[in-house]
Symmetry: C2
Subunit: 600 residues, 2 copies
């Protein structure tokens, strides 16, 4: 049976030593409360919850799945008690707005907690996780009345939330959406339509579920410009907050899926259900994108989370399983064989996963701080820069982290050989669960199009220029630093490849838009590798500095030394992939677009 | 529901136009019988079997799985009838030795048929597939009496065969093997031990199962040098060929696995079962490797087979599913949206799979011809060269084809978005089934070690020098051919990278053996990419030649034009990966080996 131990030490390193969140105490509300002691207490308590309550339910959830009976969805055994524990522990309110009962703590802490919970039980964590996005949409677009009516119960965890976009004939292309919203005399709407793939669409964990549903108000514009967003609660909510009548919506089926069996993926029927317009009419898509962007960062962290837990279990196996001898001769001559971890190719797999997840954690948590800067920083320029950066890097993290999450879980399964293919090892569940993250909240190809088609050209490339400036500034600052040159030099090379690729795109994507689409995924990977390379170079700088200037002698020297080795591995064994991506980009779209469809 | 149509046209192109198997009519027995008409008839009949009989059972096999009741394993509904159809159709005997009832046709035809069957139903195809390896071991190492007793029934398909290597504590490291074989007065042995992960170890398809079992004769040497191979039939076989008493062996459990549910993966208990020494005592491992090498080629084809069937189903979806508009503007303005296949990133995924499977088919079938040259060619030098090449490329094909088979099935799943994650689409079964091929018959990391540690240095690098010579000769011959230069130039560049990597290995792997292990997988990929690049360059040459010099005007011009585009895609979008692999190789083992085990 697999196990999980939250990587608290690494999280603290990222939060305090790499990001130095105490920098923001004066400018960002909530950061003053995030003292090292409070952070430590939160991480320790979230670790306990994840390790002791959620992880033991992970395999059960996979095996038992969800059950639909007469319109009622039953979650797997133990999920309801666990959800109650999560809500009563105050976890859903951690980063919620204090006006509605939230604790107002930094977003980055919410990310750390959600990483742990997702490592422990991804299917379970989606129930509270999706609520976070719905809360955000209501916070930003809702009327005061809507906020007062829905937010306190959602932030407390008493109710959960969902996102209803997809219909049987329309996923990515929301312009095809058909669900209807008929205006009523009282200002409400009657929602009619069928939505599919609705995660946590129906369940037995809470007394109410707040659905956010995209639908068309008759008479509005065609395509995406005629889509509006509605709050459609499972049970209507009276003005005093008490639950009213059951709304005309129901779960028609739950999907049989490859993984995340513990989460109910529902077909939802809306049969004239009463809904309330959220934000402006026909402005549903921009509001939905607010949710989507937050959700995309959360999904990126899911990729990282599955890599982390798979890594821990593969590592334990590789330390214990005796098989073969080191190529340098027996390392444990008193045993029948050496443990797997002596073998270089096993280490290649483990190190690939280790540097992915530690680098991804650094980058994701940096993004978490950026979210708070966007929302709370008093300086407009700081907010705008943060928004540019986060906008650019959100699709990059979503696609690269989830692709690598899947690659990582598979590398970890591979470490176990045939045993990894057996259900009882738990490894194949990590693979199946991780697979969905490459698809939902916008398939990864869509992320690449968002990057190349929208985020890159916006404001004449302001965001990518900002990235160039930050990375180039770092490289120039440390260019003569001999200790850092093994990190700075490869990073500078990778950056130049990204610059070249960007120039290629500017020259070729306007004349032939297919060039943009054809190279979008390679370009996304190039950005991801530079961003992670920058994180690892920073890690090397911070750790080398600590090793040269220890504040006291009792520090964990090995931790910092190991980080430097990981940075070296990233530079030598991962970053060279930038060369292949650049070459593929420079080949353009021709070889993809020549064939007529019937020739495939 | 997924479907499958055997790619007969592409198979014929490879067999007749690329490999030109009629060249061997004079030198290789069996090739004279393989006239174009016979080949066409065989492929058509195998296609019918695969499409109509096996494919419809694929999802059923996955859903129902195998069942163990009181020691009896029941295969999924329909499997027994299908197996009977396969045996009665004479398929198991296709390439079997004529002395024992085989048809003696070229090995490459057997590969084509097994590709089709595996595309249609991989779990089913393993039942007859594993028998092929057991037949081969008995053919090569068996006594005349053993051959006469076992081969006719195995070649006819009346009995199946298995390979019993793995034990609970020992997989790759067979030196740890504990199963015992006690010599008996009559020359037989009593086999005792537990074997795990035995594919098709027990089933209800045939009246007998011939297990080949590795065990130790007491008193023999320790480690792998004391392992012998035994024939251990489920039912003893009398001298006249009739079945005798049940042997003391049984299936103790069937494994619950990620995929290939239709194949019974058995824990086998040998409780003093009667076995017959196959080949010399203590020489079990070399004999087992005869089986393993044939099996590895078959597993390589499994990787290709899952890519092919997943591709067909993804392609159909991408042609039908309307979603979004071409970046160049609506291509089908009369429809609500354009089909997915207009999108460059969708084409990137499809083309990646298409050029993998078509290139892999060319390389695998070439290997199939090589097998016949090794076995049947009258000229010793031709045999030796074929043996060198096949020895070198077998681990390369096994690892690269199965890695890419998994990548491909996942790319195909991704084309369907959320629908690909739903069980009913069938895509996720291809992913789960394809996953095992990276593990069994030697995990892919072991293939890389076999390549770098054994095949590469053997005979002072004779095999890789042969590869260099072939590819370099091709490049030099066509270096001034303007029409071929888009293919020759990238191939020559890739070859030089492989040469550089080989020189690096020669310089650095002796002084530090960990360098060999650390770069083995990157080196394997480099060899694979050059080998496939060579195939694609050959395809481009053959097709351009055909287009310039058509033998008649009625030929399918589009087929040849499309092949040239695929070759271009391979050169521009796949082969650049060689640059990254070389850079990683040149970084050596340091960053992998520095960390102590406890620092991971």
């Amino acid at each position: 049976m697999p196990s999980y131990t939250a990587p608290v030490r690494d999280m603290q390193f990222v939060i305090h030593e790499l990001l130095k969140i105490d920098r923001y105490v004066a400018t960002l509300p909530g950061f003053a409360e995030a003292t090292p002691e409070t952070v430590a207490a939160i991480l320790a308590e979230a670790a306990r919850l994840s390790e002791d309550v959620l992880q033991p339910l992970n395999a059960i959830g996979d095996r038992e799945g969800c059950r639909l009976e007469n319109g009622v969805v039953f979650t797997p055994p133990g999920f309801k008690d666990a959800y109650t524990a999560v809500a009563e522990g105050g976890w859903p309110s951690l980063i919620g707005h204090p006006d509605y009962g939230g604790q107002g703590l930094p977003y980055v802490l919410g990310l750390a907690v959600s990483e742990m919970m997702a490592s422990a039980n991804m299917a379970f964590t989606m129930y509270p996780g999706l609520t976070t996005g719905a809360i955000e949409a209501i916070e930003i677009a809702g009327s005061d009345e809507q906020k007062a009516l829905f937010l306190p119960s959602m932030i407390s965890g008493r109710w959960t939330g969902t996102m209803n976009l997809t219909e049987p004939h329309c996923g990515t292309d929301l312009g095809l959406l058909r669900s209807k919203a008929e205006p009523q005399a009282d200002g409400s709407y009657r929602i009619t339509g069928t939505k599919i793939f609705i995660s946590a669409g129906e369940h037995d964990l809470t007394e109410n579920i707040v659905h956010l549903v995209l639908a068309r108000i008759p008479g509005g514009p065609d395509g995406v410009k005629g889509i509006s967003l509605f709050i459609v609660p499972k049970y209507r909510v009276e003005a005093d907050g008490r639950l009213g009548a059951r709304n005309a919506l129901s779960c028609g089926a739950i999907e049989e899926k490859m993984g995340i069996h513990g989460n109910a993926t529902c077909l939802m029927n809306y049969d004239g259900a009463i809904g309330y317009l959220l934000g402006e009419a026909h402005q549903g898509l921009p509001t939905m994108f607010i949710m989507m962007n937050a959700a995309r960062l959360a999904v990126a962290v899911q990729g990282l989370s599955q890599a982390e837990v798979a890594y821990q279990n593969a590592l334990q196996y590789c330390k214990e399983r005796l098989q073969g001898r080191s190529l340098r001769g027996a390392q444990y001559p008193d045993q029948a064989a050496d443990p797997l971890i002596v073998h270089p190719d096993i280490r290649r797999m483990l190190m690939t996963v280790k540097v992915f997840q530690e680098g991804a954690r650094a980058l994701a948590y940096w993004a978490g701080v950026t979210v708070d800067i966007i929302r709370k920083h008093p300086d407009a320029e700081a907010r705008q820069k943060a928004e540019d950066l986060l906008g650019l890097l959100t699709p990059v993290m979503k696609a690269y982290f989830t692709d690598m999450g899947f690659v990582s879980t598979n590398l970890c399964l591979q470490c176990l050989g045939g045993h990894g293919y057996i259900v009882a090892s738990g490894m194949e569940q990590f693979v199946r669960d991780a697979r969905i993250a490459q698809i939902y909240e916008g398939a990864n190809g869509i992320q690449a199009l968002d990057l190349v088609g929208r985020k890159l050209p916006a404001h004449k490339g302001r965001a990518i220029q900002l990235v160039f400036g930050i990375v180039r500034g770092f490289c120039e600052k440390y260019t003569d630093n001999a200790a850092l040159s093994p990190f700075v030099k490869p990073l500078a090379d990778a950056l130049e490849r990204l610059v070249t690729a960007t120039q290629w795109l500017m020259r070729h994507a306007v004349s032939n838009p297919d060039n943009g689409g054809a190279v979008s995924m390679d370009y996304l990977y190039l950005v991801a590798l530079v961003a992670l390379g920058y994180q690892w170079a920073q890690v090397a700088r911070v750790c080398k500095n600590k090793l040269s200037n220890p504040d006291d002698d009792s520090f964990d020297r090995a931790f910092y030394q190991n980080k430097v080795v990981c940075a070296q591995f990233f530079m030598e064994k991962i970053l060279p992939e930038t060369a292949a991506h650049l070459a593929k980009i420079q080949a353009g779209a021709d070889s993809l677009m020549i064939l007529p469809a019937e020739a495939f």
